[in-house]
């Protein structure tokens, strides 16, 4: 099962590498959208520092949802997804591999770019470290929940817009704990920041257990 998971992930990453610019589009969106906020809100450093964690997190949510519809779309379009469903191997492993590839190709770049955005928002170094940490724990949650949404809306005319409506409400707890940790640390409450971080980790474990079977079931429903 692990071999299948890794094989699927390797294949998807290879496909992403062949279309490098396309794979980096969510990162571009992430940076452009984040850069618009100081222009819209005003360059006041104190304000930026206050809204920074929330803006980066919401930005990451939107960037993840933007790319998540691509997780199954091209395989669905050329019919290879149906062949994968017919395979005797468990579908959960396939979903896991696809989620892993999605996170490595779009989630991880966001995590790596977030310190830069943190600097743009005048965040101090400890807060930036915490931001990177929360995003590292949080972006896999987004990929996992996004996989469920992408599988449910597979092949629908308005699929891309629907994913936003379906998945974003479910990501609210991750958003609360993720930004909560950064804000708590920035206002001098390291204990509370740690509690938020633990809850975010618990959320990741729960999603890791629940989302792949749900996405696999959704794929079966969609390709019935």
């Amino acid at each position: 099962m692990i071999t299948l998971l890794l094989a699927v992930a390797r294949r998807d990453l290879l496909l992403a590498r062949r279309r490098r610019i396309e794979a980096l589009l969510p990162l571009g969106f992430f940076i452009v959208a984040a850069a618009l906020f100081p222009i819209g809100v005003g360059p006041e450093p104190q304000t930026l520092r206050q809204i920074g964690p929330g803006v980066v997190w919401v930005d990451a949510l939107l960037a993840a949802m933007l790319s998540v519809t691509q997780m199954f779309a091209s395989d669905h379009a050329d019919g290879s997804l149906e062949q994968m469903l017919l395979a005797p191997q468990p579908l959960v492993a396939l979903v896991g591999g696809k989620v892993l590839a999605h996170w490595l190709s779009t989630g991880l770049p966001l995590v790596l770019a977030s310190p830069l955005i943190g600097l743009l928002f005048n965040l101090p170094a400890p807060a930036i470290t915490m931001l990177v940490l929360t995003l590292a724990l949080g972006t896999p949650i987004l990929s996992l929940l996004g996989a469920v949404g992408a599988a449910l809306t597979l092949g629908l005319r308005s699929g891309a817009a629907l994913v936003f409506l379906l998945v974003l409400p479910l990501t609210v707890p991750a958003l609360i704990f993720g930004t909560g940790a950064v804000v708590a640390l920035d206002s001098g409450l390291p204990g509370q920041a740690q509690a938020h971080l633990s809850l975010l980790g618990a959320l990741l474990i729960l999603t890791l257990l629940g989302a792949p079977p749900a996405a696999a079931a959704a794929l079966r429903i969609s390709l019935d």
């Binding site: 469920v148 449910l152 809306t153 629908l156 005319r157 308005s158 699929g159 629907l162 409506l165 379906l166 974003l168 409400p169 479910l170 609210v172 707890p173 629940g210 749900a214 079931a217 959704a218 429903i221 969609s222 019935d224």
Partner: protein, 247 residues
């Protein structure tokens, strides 16, 4: 004909039975509604802190209760329809969704109307308000997903999966009361502690809840009948029904 648990799983029998039930549900809605409004607005005493403004509780709290309950009921029927491949259960789940969304909207709206005189603001980003708002978005997502899929079977099953995923959120709504403490007052009714409200207020609230409940049954049954006719349009019994109703 012997009555079994599955008797009304047949769309034709459900259609007939629901048709008989609907007038009674409407009657109960009116009866309990009138009684509840009378008790709530004429009998119940004025609150010494909030004055007359508190009386919106008789609409606000029952609507909020039902908004959450209907989501659970909807997820239950949707899951049943998915697991047992029972089409009628799936149709009933779809029929419930707009009513649940309506109650969520009413709860939010009356909450805003209540918040203005008591807190001095239409809206605060408090835990319960926020989770009720998320509930509205989840109803919206369910309705949008089931409407976007043309094949009724896929629509029903996809909706069921989404509703089950969303059910995880309903306990969060409930426990959020304890998670964050904000300026929202605590739950007005608790099952463990003795109620601190005047008993007439409680009576009015329960009567309004019964009224809303009957309304939900009436509307959901009517909507389910319409969905049955739509999905069974090419069967014999629907054609006969149409001929009978034409006459």
């Amino acid at each position: 004909m012997t009555l079994r648990l599955t008797t009304f799983a047949a769309p034709s029998r459900f259609y007939a039975a629901a048709g008989l039930l609907v007038p009674w549900c409407w009657a109960a809605t009116l009866l309990f509604g009138l009684a509840g409004l009378t008790v709530g607005f004429a009998v119940a005493p004025t609150d010494f802190q909030q004055g007359e403004a508190y009386r919106i509780i008789f609409i606000h709290v029952p609507a909020a209760w039902l908004s959450m309950l209907i989501y659970l009921v909807m997820a239950f029927w949707a899951a049943l329809g998915w697991m047992l491949n029972a089409r009628m259960a799936a149709m009933y789940a779809r029929a419930l969704a707009p009513t649940g969304a309506l109650f969520t909207l009413i709860a939010l709206w009356t909450g805003a109307l209540w918040g203005k005189p008591t807190w001095g603001t239409w809206w605060v980003w408090d835990a319960r308000l926020t989770s009720e708002f998320i509930l509205l978005l989840m109803y919206g997502g369910y309705i949008a997903l089931t409407e976007a899929i043309d094949d009724p079977r896929r629509a029903a099953n996809a909706g069921a999966l989404l509703a089950l995923v969303g059910v995880v959120n309903v306990p969060i709504i409930y426990f959020s009361v304890r998670w964050w403490n904000t300026l929202h007052q605590g739950s007005s009714i608790s099952l463990t502690a003795a109620p601190r409200m005047a008993s007439t207020m409680l009576t009015a609230m329960l009567l309004m809840t019964l009224s809303f409940w009957a309304y939900s049954f009436a509307v959901a049954l009517m909507r389910a009948r319409a969905i049955v006719l739509e999905q069974e349009a090419d069967t014999d019994w629907v054609r006969q029904q149409a001929r009978r109703e034409d006459r």
